[in-house]
Symmetry: C2
Subunit: 433 residues, 2 copies
């Protein structure tokens, strides 16, 4: 055993407490907001039959599956996303109440080349409404998403919305036909913020042989002024039925969000295309103001055909996905969350072995008042205990010998200012708030 390299697997990572404490808090807040809208949690197993996953993510995706034969000779794989398992659940459990509003926050696995901030196991955080075709569902997903941003303390956000049917109408007009070719165009257009107009143009020419006239029209379209309404868009899609329907849906979405009071956080952006093939209507991306270069922190849209993959009939669905990793780094960067290794509010120093039980009993009183207390396990020198508390990121230290505990007068030291006050037990909770 001495030769075992006790290392985390290549491409994977541990979340030590200093990183995991803020992460778990963020996840808890997100779940609570989801539930406050009536989205219910769904948990599916990490492993699925391979045939459930294969062919759903393109050829490239199939190669990235962690796929193997289990001890019972079953062909199995770790889930690649949360959407295909959702489709499997909807197909398997026919008695689910519709509309089915579920959220799932869970790891997915992709055998990708690991890179800066890219790991082979990472969390996805999805909220979806299945079985509701009305745009109210599209509005609700964005509403709950924007509420998540607010609850997390993200300072200012803008949701940029578009509709795939409008893009389809435009592509109709440009004579770009065939599902694959259209998806290829949209995938390249989606890179606009990353590689710029010249980059997109180059790819459209080289990879798809799209003529410059069509490109020109595409770029003109994406730059249309929609601040006063979608009239110019209606003009651009011409007599495409699909395009007109897209405009109608987009208008309805804007009206609903305005009615909910979110009008100022939403804007139409005709250049939003989303790289994924399966969107059929509303698409959205969300950016943090002043930090647009991070990319979208929350994206999604309507995908009315995807969930039908295991059913004879299609099942309308719309969802939004919070980019947890991106959001966590951004929130850390702007100082909204702070990593520390101590999960409590107060660190209580221990004078001697005899004080442990009464100190822990006192801590129980504080906990019943909602104050989290880590009681020192080591009656080391006080300075040493202070250092331990500091290293774990604690600001407050509780100082009480056995006599103080009896008298209910407790020392509370602020490690940031160095100040120390003596308080009765019942005032501690208020003092640290």
């Amino acid at each position: 055993m001495a030769t075992v390299q006790a290392r985390v697997l290549k491409g994977f990572r541990d979340y030590l407490p200093v990183a995991d404490i803020p992460r778990q808090r963020v996840l808890r807040t997100i779940s609570e907001v989801f539930e406050s809208f009536g989205f219910a949690p769904l948990t599916t197993p990490a492993l699925e039959y391979s045939e459930v996953l294969l062919g759903k993510y393109g050829e490239e995706g199939d190669k990235l599956l962690y796929r193997f034969e289990d001890n019972g000779k079953r062909d199995v794989a770790l889930r690649y996303d949360l959407t295909v398992p959702l489709a499997r659940v909807v197909a398997q459990h026919r008695d689910l109440e519709v509309p089915f509003k579920r959220y799932q926050i869970a790891p997915v696995w992709r055998a990708e080349k690991p890179g800066k901030g890219r790991f082979r196991e990472f969390l996805q955080c999805d909220v979806d409404i299945v079985g509701e075709p009305s745009i109210r569902a599209d509005a609700e997903c964005l509403t709950v998403g924007l509420e998540v941003m607010k609850a997390l303390g993200v300072p200012g956000v803008v949701a940029r919305v578009n509709n795939r049917k409008i893009l389809d109408g435009l592509l109709d007009g440009l004579g770009i036909e065939g599902t694959e070719r259209r998806h290829d165009v949209l995938r390249i257009v989606d890179k606009l913020p990353k590689i710029g107009r010249d980059g997109v143009s180059k790819e459209l020419s080289e990879a798809l042989d799209l003529d410059l006239d069509a490109q020109e029209k595409l770029f003109d379209f994406m730059a249309l002024d929609v601040s006063e309404g979608l009239d110019a868009v209606l003009d651009a899609v011409g007599d495409s039925e699909e395009g007109r329907l897209g405009c109608e849906e987009l208008n309805m979405l804007l009206t609903l969000l305005d009615g909910v009071g979110l009008g100022d956080k939403v804007e139409v952006d005709l250049s939003i295309a989303r790289g994924l093939d399966y969107y059929t209507g509303t698409i959205y991306e969300t950016f943090v103001l002043g930090h647009e270069s991070y990319g979208s922190v929350m994206s999604g849209g309507r995908y009315d055909t995807l969930l039908g993959m295991f059913l004879k009939k299609s099942s309308p669905a719309v969802g939004i996905s919070v980019g947890i990793d991106r959001l966590l780094s951004l929130l850390t960067e702007i100082g909204v969350i702070e990593g520390r290794a101590g999960s409590a509010d107060i660190f209580a120093v221990l004078f001697d072995e005899e004080s442990y039980a009464p100190l822990q009993k006192t801590a129980q009183v504080l906990r019943s008042q909602g104050v989290k207390v880590e009681v020192s396990l080591k009656p080391a020198k006080l300075g040493k205990q202070f250092k331990y508390a500091e290293r774990k990121g604690y600001r407050w230290v509780l100082i009480a010998g056995a006599g103080d505990l009896d008298a209910n007068t407790i020392g509370l030291k602020d490690l940031e200012t160095g100040e120390q006050v003596t308080l009765p037990l019942e005032d501690i909770s208020a003092a640290i708030r």
Copy 2:
């Protein structure tokens, strides 16, 4: 694609909302109690290098690993428990603050024969203190565990405690030697509540050829009256140094727990042996009064040598593990938790399409007061919407047309009693509490 059997993998299960809502609430409560004692979350990846896991769970355990070769020809496996990954983390990240107090609630995978309530993926919920040899750590793990039971509303519990060193002292006296033989004896003795004295005796004779005189002494020992103290135990372990140390540790644990105010929830039970080989001191099991037949819902102990598996030196550790699945069925059975598919407090019916935005806006006001509201997405007939709310387990229905929303007078219907009242918006929150 039409031929794909969209089924969950054999031996695995989905937690649909009706089961997952109470489950997630229980998990959230447990995390919060852990954190209120300063235990910090740790997240490790599902996959580990196989060599990290192999040989840690016995030959049988190795066979139950989900082990495979990944796309990069690495020999990998899904984690089998949370303890070996903890040992790997402690060995890899040497700069962790000690004592290191962590909790982890995460799935583990075992390719076992599935049975009633036994699945191949299941949650483990562990809290451990690494690096602290004093019995204060043993006391703290049981304290936080009992606090979890209280926070979950488990009516009455008893923690039965023992110490492996006492058992070792006794086995010394009985001339039972050799680590393996001793572990075999303890593993069989551990089955006492399941197979009774005759069953244990039969196995001790047949499998281990243990003579009846030694068996007699073993059974007499386990039945010793310890209600007045451990004197009889001290007598029984004779001059075994190990046995006397065990008595001392057990006494210390009882004194500490008594001091914290938990004396009435803890009792010595000399028949508690724990099946696992790695315990070195305190061992505990916890039972719900009146439901002892469920078995222990929370177990653990001190394992001072296990964590050293990847290090040159040993690292003292003690922990407790909450049996989530067992606890969930028990809490459901005794009516402390109730499965329902609606995750909010109130279901708000929708009169017509035009009411959606103002209704959602009203719901936002309620949410800001801590009331969870699911807004109906379908303006169906009221009776149909009530039925949907009922099927999802909602008690409260909010009834408001556009006019009512303006006037801030809202109907609140209690589906249990059928009563309906009209209230201003600001009174809704109080009315449902």
